[in-house]
């Protein structure tokens, strides 16, 4: 069974149709990349998948792990194993990263019928996972993303993914704004989570990230549609030739 199956997806925001018939299938264990110019609808797709109600799905079907996503609201999708690493992670003053993570981890455990982690077990899990992502203790104690640098926010997203162990990780331009060291840390974090049962949808602007997180399939998205799909060599082709040939007369 496919992990994610998107069929003829149309979606609008603020009355404008942004996604115009997306078809995409990700099988367990696969890493898919979506590349495309700014404004082509990549973040819209990730938000529609995550269940952001600002975005309205107008047509099509999305099956995730055999479930119709129409039946699940955002927090249920997260509990069912769908994770979105945000392009712009949200700052939440007044809630410590630790407290937030514990609530999130335990919400997932409750859904799966597992026991709640107590403080000790939770700390053990944190200690184990924070090393890979190079998360300092002060970032755990501080309010979620509040005053974090751009790189810290992105690392914190992947750290959350490592804590929550989703079935599908969607990374929305996690690489943008990262220097080469941070890029390596983030990629190592993602690669450590690669697993025959788990899938990834890696949205990026640049081929660079795909040197570290090597995809099985690369899709090119333009004007709300996937205009070409291919192997990892497609990313290199894009890097060399740009999107011009797909963008058409109206430009990017």
């Amino acid at each position: 069974m496919a992990l994610l199956e998107i069929k003829n997806l149309h979606a609008s925001v603020a009355g404008n149709e942004i996604l115009k018939g997306i078809n995409l299938t990700i099988n367990p264990g696969e890493v898919h990349a979506i590349m495309g110019p700014n404004g082509s609808g990549k973040s819209t797709l990730s938000n529609v998948l995550a269940g952001n109600e600002v975005y309205e799905k107008t047509q099509g079907e999305i099956l995730f792990d055999g479930k119709n996503l129409d039946d699940l609201v955002a927090h249920e999708r997260a509990r069912a194993g769908l994770f979105l690493a945000f392009q712009y992670p949200v700052e939440i003053p007044g809630i410590s990263n630790m407290y937030f993570l514990k609530a999130a981890v335990n919400a997932g455990r409750e859904y799966r019928g597992e026991e709640q982690l107590d403080a000790m077990d939770f700390i053990d899990l944190i200690e184990e996972r924070k090393k890979v992502m190079n998360i300092r203790d002060d970032l755990l104690e501080r309010a979620v993303n509040s005053g974090f640098s751009g790189g810290e926010k992105k690392r914190n997203e992947i750290f959350q993914m490592a804590m929550l162990e989703p079935k599908l990780g969607i990374l929305d331009e996690t690489d943008s704004g990262l220097d080469i060291d941070a890029l390596r840390i983030v990629s190592d974090g993602v690669n450590a989570l690669r697993d025959p049962e788990r899938g990834f949808l890696v949205i990026t602007h640049y081929q660079r990230l795909l040197d570290y997180i090597v995809p099985d399939v690369v899709h090119v998205m333009v004007h709300g549609q996937i205009v070409k799909s291919g192997g990892k060599e497609l990313a290199l082709e894009l890097e060399n030739e740009g999107y011009a040939s797909w963008v058409g007369e109206e430009g990017i």
């Binding site: 509990r79 994770f83 609530a103 309010a143």
Partner: protein, 396 residues
């Protein structure tokens, strides 16, 4: 002035002026006619209400009267004098609290008990003194009067807590005067958990000597109609006043906070952080007046009032008032009224946290800024729990 004369003057003032009306500038948004139009009794009864002592130093007042049985009065160390105000009338009693206020006048004329606390020079009492005021007689009026005075370099923490039986109407009208001598520190907490149909009014007035520190944390959860007047007089250089507050209101609760900080001399600081969370049809008034007199150069005064509305029916009036007569000062103020951040709620949801829990987390986070400032660990834990309980109640 002796107590008799003081009471007589106050009674005369009250008779001549009566209760304020909404025509009075200071009472524009708070209509006290429900108090003015009620005849209150003054019968005494023991109280069945439960409370949680926050300290081994605990004084309990049952329906206005100090209960020697429920209180622990003998345990205090040397240099710490604590007891009923009826047994210790200080000559400064009534010289600080705003004599123009009808509520203060009614209290001065009618108080029948309250706390007297005197800390000798240099004595630092680490353990908080917990004052518990229990009210469970419907139709009664209580006028607790508290007097706190600490010597040079002395230190004390006082928690005043007002607890009422559910769903009964009565009137608490408290006055607390605080004299902080040079280099002294008073941390004063007020926890108001009256019945949601009770009237609660209190004036807290503090006077600070040189390099003295006074902090007041006012946590308001109960009361149907009420007001806190928190007033600070900085009369010695280097004084520091901190007035923080949190009001959590739902139903038809109406609560008014009037702060008045009087910078009379140079080089003093005052910091005021007030936060409110309002649900249903609750109403809040915040009026923060800072007076910087001509001699009060190098004053550093910061005031902030932030409000979170959980429902469309809730309403806040926030009125900062700076009156500055000195030219070299730093005074800032800000006020906000807003709703929960939908983007933050979505972010929490994408991590599996359901919206009910998410809202509670964000609301708690909003309140937490005030709780975070609380120094006493036992008081902090207690208040954190009260805030959690309140949030659980409103999210049901």
């Amino acid at each position: 002035m002796d107590l008799m004369q003081l009471r007589k003057n106050a009674a005369d003032h009250f008779k001549a002026n009566g209760f304020p009306t909404t025509k009075d500038e200071l009472w524009r948004f708070t209509d006290v006619s429900p108090v003015a139009n009620t005849d209150f009794s003054s019968e005494w009864n023991a109280s069945d209400l439960a409370f949680q002592p926050l300290s081994s130093y605990c004084l309990v007042f049952e329906n206005g009267k100090l209960s020697p049985e429920k209180s622990k009065l003998n345990a205090f160390p040397e240099g710490v004098k604590v007891g009923s105000i009826m047994d210790h009338v200080d000559p400064r009693l009534g010289t600080l609290a705003d004599a123009q206020s009808a509520f203060v006048a009614a209290n001065t004329a009618g108080f029948s008990d309250g706390t007297f606390i005197e800390i000798a020079e240099g004595v630092e009492l680490e353990t908080p003194i917990h004052l518990v005021f229990l009210a469970d007689v419907a139709g009664a009026a209580f006028h607790p009067r508290n007097f706190i005075s600490i010597g040079i370099g002395a230190k004390v923490t006082v928690v005043e807590e007002y607890i009422g039986a559910a769903d009964i109407t009565y009137w608490t009208n408290a006055v607390t005067e605080v004299f902080v001598a040079d280099r002294g520190t008073v941390d004063h907490y007020k926890v108001q958990r009256e019945s949601a149909t009770a009237f609660h009014f209190q004036t807290v007035e503090a006077q600070l000597g040189e390099n003295a520190v006074f902090s007041n944390h006012a946590i308001t959860i109960g009361g149907g109609l009420g007001r806190n007047d928190i007033r600070g007089k900085l009369i010695g250089e280097g004084g520091e006043a901190i007035c923080n507050g949190l009001y959590l209101l739902n139903g038809k609760q109406q609560f008014d906070t009037h702060l008045f900080m009087d910078h009379a001399v140079a080089n003093c600081n005052s910091h005021e952080l007030y936060k409110g969370i309002l649900d249903e049809k609750a109403r809040a008034v915040f009026c923060g007046r800072i007076l910087v007199q001509q001699d009060a150069q190098q004053t550093d005064a910061v005031q902030s009032n932030k409000n979170l509305l959980l429902s469309r029916g809730a309403k806040v009036h926030t009125l900062p008032q700076l009156e500055i007569y000195a030219d070299d000062v730093k005074c800032t103020h800000g006020a906000t009224i807003g709703e929960l951040d939908e983007t933050a709620l979505y972010y929490l949801q994408t991590r599996g946290i359901d919206p009910v829990r998410g809202k509670a987390m964000l609301t708690y986070a909003f309140a937490n800024e005030v709780l975070d400032e609380i120094k006493s660990a036992s008081v902090k834990t207690y208040l954190e729990n009260l805030v959690h309980e309140w949030l659980e109640k409103v999210s049901e």
